[in-house]
């Protein structure tokens, strides 16, 4: 009898999470929970100013405080060749400032003391003399000729430009525009947003001089990348470095890069020969670590008057802060921005991107998105909304006309991506029905008569998740594959390790479900471990929704290798040839006699006790998976809002999300991911952003100014599902963790703009705070985020 897959916690089971057992008891193990014997504590002194030359640093008073063990400055780092470190985008970043500070919050000195209170006291006792320099807070100031050069440390860096990049067919695109009936334009700013996981970054570096081994417990979404980078920076051999990521209190991309604090704690441990713990405070996290977006986007669409999209072009000007530290595949300077419009059938497209240094925090991380896909899709759906209005077409019908049809896959986008599957029209239909689209126009008209402003916003998109394939995707030259290692014990229980890194996605639960699906070993019998580079196989970590597409595939593949070996053992046990063996979930049997069979557990025992002659004992293996393509989930989101015309306050009446992420390993976990993503979309649309004043002071340096929505403001969500299996993934799954954050914001903005559409409002930049909405509805004008945007041509 084959097993019931749902009962053993296989594919499709909403299995309750294994990791919850510790978290609900307060027994999680986050970095700050770890205590090592003799451990010291480190605090970082940060620059209060955005751009200044350091004239002097006097640390003598810090040493006067009892309990202070070491004070590190840039000069001391430089003496060990550690003042600068490489970024993930082939730039360099200061670890501790030597010459200048280049953004507010930059690391200037570090104190290592017996406890963090004393370390903080000592930070306050350090005297730094700064000579102020002109401050550049946006790319438009950065590009002005004669503006202060921020990166005067670099050779061949005459101005503040980081890169100039283009992709697509310019000639074909120009031709499409020349032949267009209607050209529709859009210009907007996607503001700077910080991923802001609840847990900040931190590390405990523990260098053991006797063994020469360095162990670092740290908040990293990609421990193996960190090991490679530390090997490079600290000039230690890899086998003498062990990086351990314990439980992470959220990541969202923020914990991909390598931050100065980690490196300083490592040197501090080497110098003090004691473990050194560094736990960043929230302000430090918000003002110095990886942010998302901060891009000015401008573009236009060439349209035929019946609504057919003929071409699109787009320009981006991005603000990278003081160091180009974007976490992204090397080949692409502005991430996967060119995945924009991938769900639409458009013959010609062209993208130009320019990036600039500014006196702001570095980063450019994929904040819950696949490498700048968030701004690509936000621009797309804002542009589509405007284009439909320009054509006088219904929002849903305009999309339906131009979405790639089911029978067009595989579909090559104008930028060269290959989308491979989906049922876009079906998703649209489900969402329209759920939101009540048919009766909405009449409802909106009627409400307007009563002075109420109703709006519906639609956002549809497919995005590339699961980098990568090794032909195109690498970080610092390391190809973006992933891995899994499975060891089946003689009892038939198993331990699985992968190169991914859970930070709330539930890998401990869901990876075991893939094993259950492939081998029929109950999920409860499979332990999952990640995050320790001494034990986990090499992998690129978890971000950009790549775990299921890449590491998840590796899990399936390694389980299949195990099954192949178990089949040989089964043949041996059943005394038939391998060709006469059939498999059903959890069991091999003789084709001619289904009653005669052995379970996977029988095979496991035999692998250690009764293997065939000549067979290598044991039942374990590993798999490195290099995906043939990205996965392409589809999302159709609908948001209905009501705007208060006297205050600009808008309320969300309903949110409908239709997601097609292929086969769902654990539907409960998938839905949890979607709701989390929708909330971050709502957050960015309504309140969450970071801005800077003219002096480069960060507005949004703590939770009083950087607003995250609470349970009270956050709307409820209605979720729907369509399943189009991924054709190349071993179990048909696609990435999903980020779809809602990517496609969500445009649905909210489109809804508010729709409510105000009759007043002539075309765009309100996020966040749509009540004052911005009020200004738009009283003036009928577009509201642009700071600064005044001139994109040039």
């Amino acid at each position: 009898m084959a097993l019931d897959e749902i009962k053993i916690g296989g594919l499709g089971a909403s299995r309750r999470r294994v990791e919850d057992n510790r978290f609900i008891r307060g027994k999680g193990n986050y970095v700050d929970d770890i205590v090592l014997s003799g451990m010291l504590h480190m605090e970082i002194l940060r620059s209060p100013v955005a751009h200044a030359r350091i004239k002097s640093i006097d640390v003598s008073k810090a040493y006067d405080i009892p309990g202070v063990r070491l004070v590190l400055t840039g000069e001391m780092m430089a003496a060990r060749n550690l003042a600068w470190m490489p970024t993930l985008s082939y730039d360099t970043q200061a670890v501790l400032a030597t010459d200048k500070v280049r953004f507010q919050g930059q690391e200037v000195a570090a104190v290592i003391a017996d406890d963090p209170y004393i370390a903080k006291d000592a930070c306050q006792a350090i005297v730094v003399e700064y000579e102020q320099l002109p401050v550049i807070v946006n790319p438009f100031q950065a590009m002005e000729s004669g503006s202060e050069v921020i990166r005067d440390d670099k050779e061949n860096q005459p101005g503040n430009k980081v890169f100039d990049w283009e992709i697509g067919d310019k000639a074909a695109t120009d031709k499409a525009f020349a032949e267009a009936d209607v050209i529709s334009k859009m210009e907007l700013h996607y503001p700077r947003s910080h991923p802001s996981p609840m847990e900040t970054c931190g590390s405990i570096a523990d260098f053991n001089r006797a063994t020469g081994k360095l162990t670092v417990y740290m908040t990293s979404q990609a421990p193996h990348i960190v090991r490679a980078a530390v090997a490079m920076v600290a000039e230690l051999p890899e086998h003498m470095i062990r990086i351990v990521s314990p439980d992470l209190g959220g990541g969202f991309g923020n914990k991909v890069p390598i931050y100065p604090g980690y490196v300083i704690s490592i040197l501090a441990s080497i110098l003090t020969e004691r473990p050194v713990k560094w736990i960043e405070d929230k302000t430090g996290n918000l003002i110095s670590t990886g942010f998302g977006r901060d891009v000015y986007l401008q573009g236009e669409m060439a349209l035929r008057k019946d609504g057919k999209m003929l071409g699109m072009r787009m320009r981006t000007i991005s603000d990278h802060g003081a160091f180009y530290a974007d976490a992204q595949p090397s080949k692409f300077k502005i991430g996967l921005m060119h995945s924009t419009f991938a769900c639409y059938d458009i013959p010609a497209a062209h993208l130009e991107s320019v990036g600039y240094y500014t006196n702001k925090a570095p980063g450019g991380v994929a904040y819950r998105c696949s490498f700048r896909v968030t701004e690509a899709m936000f621009f797309q759906e804002r542009m589509v909304h405007a284009a439909a209005n320009d054509l006088g077409m219904d929002q849903a019908e305009f999309r339906r006309m131009n979405l790639v049809k089911d029978d067009m896959f595989p579909y090559r986008t104008a930028f060269g991506f290959l989308t491979d599957s989906g049922q876009y029209g079906k998703c649209l239909d489900i969402g329209m029905k759920a939101i009540g689209y048919d009766t909405y126009k009449a409802e909106q008209e009627e409400a307007r008569k009563r002075g109420k402003l109703l709006g519906i916003g639609i956002s549809t998109m497919t995005e590339p998740l699961g980098a990568g394939n090794s032909r195109e995707y690498d970080i610092l030259g390391i190809k973006m594959f992933d891995s899994a290692e499975l060891r089946v014990h003689m009892s038939g229980k198993a331990i699985l390790r992968t190169g991914a890194m859970n930070q709330g996605q539930g890998h401990q639960t869901t990876w075991a479900q893939i094993v259950a699906h492939e081998l029929g070993i109950p999920a409860d019998d499979v332990t999952v471990e990640e995050g320790d580079t001494d034990t986990a196989p090499f992998g690129m970590g978890t971000y950009a929704s790549r775990s299921t597409p890449v590491a998840g595939a590796a899990v399936a593949m390694v389980a299949r290798k195990i099954r192949a070996k178990a089949r040989k053992i089964a043949a041996h046990l059943l005394e038939v040839s391998e060709e006469d063996i059939e498999w059903e979930l959890g069991r091999f049997y003789v084709r001619s006699n289904k009653e005669r069979g052995v379970t996977i557990q029988d095979c496991a025992l035999a692998a250690y006790s009764n293997m065939p002659d000549g067979m290598e004992p044991g039942l374990e293996n590993n798999a490195y998976y290099d995906p043939p393509n990205l996965t392409w989930p589809f999302a159709a989101y609908f948001v209905k809002v009501e705007v208060d015309a006297e205050t600009g306050v808008w309320d969300v009446l309903k949110v409908v999300a239709v997601d097609d992420c292929g086969v769902r390993i654990n539907p409960m976990v998938v839905e949890g991911q979607i709701m989390g993503g929708l909330t971050e979309a709502y957050a960015m649309a309504s309140m969450q952003y970071q801005t800077y004043d003219d002096e480069g002071n960060c507005i949004g340096s703590n939770y009083m100014d950087y607003l995250l929505p609470t349970a009270w403001e956050t709307p409820g969500f209605e979720l729907h599902e369509v399943v189009t299996p991924c054709p190349h993934h071993p179990i048909g799954a696609k990435g999903v963790g980020e779809c809602a954050t990517v496609a969500g914001p445009a649905a909210f903005v489109n809804a508010v703009v729709d409510a105000l559409g009759h007043l002539g409002v075309r765009n309100i930049d996020m966040p749509m705070m009540p004052n911005r909405v009020y200004e738009a509805l009283t003036t009928g004008k577009d509201i642009s985020g700071m600064p005044p945007v001139k994109m040039g041509d």
Partner: protein, 175 residues
């Protein structure tokens, strides 16, 4: 120089003013010498090794450090350890008995009310404070009661469902 939070066995550091406090933590009296400036959250985490209470911000916004102080929820990062002297507090570690989870804990697991788990202890204690006063809250009442606690992962909907699940179970058990 470990005067900030060590238990009384350790000698306090020289010249550092400390006070001896006794706090009933999850039903057990704990006596500690603390510096006045030590935050209660830090005493719990570092001194008493109860690391289930988390600190997620510097500004009394996130609620990850929420505990029950004399039965009412407080942010333990915004109370000095000395202020808890003579008082009774409950942390996440006190929710379950050795053999049995509290219905709120069960609810969070059943309804997938957590992802990364960092906000969870604070959320559960805020929820307990609500359910201790109101055993049959509406969805809006739950959302309101949890609005001093931030979560970045879940989008709150499942947290609300978790609390409603627990309320139902607690009502059934009390019948």
């Amino acid at each position: 120089m470990t005067s900030l939070y060590d238990e009384v066995q350790a000698a306090p550091g020289e010249g550092v003013p400390t006070r001896r406090v006794t706090i009933k933590v999850n039903g057990e009296d704990r006596t500690v010498d603390v510096e006045p400036r030590l935050l209660l959250a830090h005493l719990l985490r570092q001194g008493l090794k109860l690391t289930g209470t988390h600190t997620g911000c510097d500004t009394t916004n996130c609620g990850a450090c929420t505990i029950l102080f004399e039965g009412r929820p407080i942010k333990s990062c915004t109370m000095l350890a000395v202020q808890a002297d003579g008082h009774s507090i409950e942390t996440v570690e006190g929710l379950a008995s050795a053999s049995e989870l509290h219905p709120i804990q069960e609810g969070f697991k059943e309804e997938h009310g957590l992802h990364c788990g960092f906000c969870t202890p604070g959320m559960m204690l805020a929820a307990k404070a609500l359910l201790d006063k109101n055993d049959n809250p509406t969805e809006d009442e739950v959302r309101w009661a949890l609005s001093g606690n931030l979560c970045r992962c879940t989008g709150y909907q499942n947290i609300v469902k978790s609390v409603l699940w627990a309320a139902e179970k607690m009502r059934a058990e009390s019948k």
